[in-house]
Symmetry: C2
Subunit: 212 residues, 2 copies
């Protein structure tokens, strides 16, 4: 893939979604799927689906549609790194636990291997099969467990305190669910996903629709 | 605002984020902010910020930068509907509770007024100040409480069962956190936000960065 440029963010998101649908199809014994069916499931046009697949160089459309397994594997080759990436969760409140529970046993290439918290009740325990460590051990555990990515699900008021430990530990990617936008040095991939923003966006388009 | 077209999704997201930063500034007694400072907080260029504000028709840049309160109010006029929008949460597991806790007391125009679950232990109780009702009461409660938007935080396997009740009850917007993409009839705004997608996206760009 080294000759290809990085894909647009939205394409990456859709590829991830297509793959999940393809894997679900596989489980149900569906071997082929037409682009317009795949599109329909995701509320997209068939043209959009075909364009996304063209971007990654996939072109084996048959009379029966796409071969589900072939396409799923093709997308995996694009999205996944060769080695599994290990993930740490910072903040094991409701959100941290929801995320951990959600990922457990999904058999993805992405694996939550540790969580971190400042609450003494949680530190040292195992929550949803994931050991919870103290934030003081963060750097050591990141190295020991080869953690590349962290999910930030701590209270927003604590978010800024995590930046330095994250940078120091050599973390490469951050998925930030707090309402505090965080800046990291170049070279660290950050996605800020604030739930308030998502909800305000839905509300805005609901309002627009009512007014039109 | 009726003369303006709907704003691009990404602009709406950023406006929501700017506003949150502006409100935080207000609390700290900061009265003015330069576009490049606002940009820096959000990891954007000043040009991007100015373009977003131009799109909504805001142009009162002073020598001291933007007036924080004036800009916050201006954005609110764009994003918010006149009446508060009431929200229901379907599924009060960890994710539902994380979301509810997160929103409580934030003083937004968006208000979580009810939650729904199928678990008899939860139904009839009050969780984080929000009453939890049975899914069987969904239509009645939506009408009674004037709920416009639902947050879907139930298990993905149950997501599809919620579509019909949501449509029947006249819900206008859905924020779907399950991993099942859902299709609703035209006229209902849907945002599918699957955490797996977000994480796979971060992982992809981490991989790209390592390879480049």
């Amino acid at each position: 893939m080294s000759e290809l440029q990085s894909l647009p963010e939205k394409t990456v998101e859709r590829l991830s979604e297509y793959r999940r649908t393809l894997l679900r199809c596989q489980k149900q014994g569906i071997t082929h799927i037409f682009s317009h069916v795949l599109a329909g499931i995701h509320g997209l046009t068939a043209v959009q689906v075909r364009r996304d697949l063209m971007l990654i160089g996939f072109s084996s459309d048959t009379k029966k549609g796409y071969d589900v397994s072939v396409l799923a594997n093709f997308i995996s080759d694009i999205l996944d790194s060769e080695a599994p990436m290990n993930i740490g969760v910072i903040g094991m409140g409701h959100l941290g636990q929801a995320i951990t529970k959600y990922f457990n046993g999904k058999g993805l290439k992405l694996k939550i291997v540790a969580s971190f918290d400042v609450d003494n009740q949680k530190v040292g325990s195992v929550i949803d099969d994931i050991p919870c460590y103290s934030m003081e051990e963060f750097t050591d555990r990141v190295e020991e467990l080869d953690i590349n990515i962290v999910i930030l699900s701590c209270p927003s008021s604590k978010a800024e305190q995590t930046v330095l430990p994250i940078v120091n530990a050599g973390i490469k990617g951050v998925l930030n669910f707090t309402s505090k936008p965080l800046n990291f040095p170049l070279g660290i991939v950050v996605e800020n996903y604030d739930i308030t923003t998502l909800l305000e966006k839905v509300a805005y388009f609901v309002k627009e629709q009512e007014e039109s």
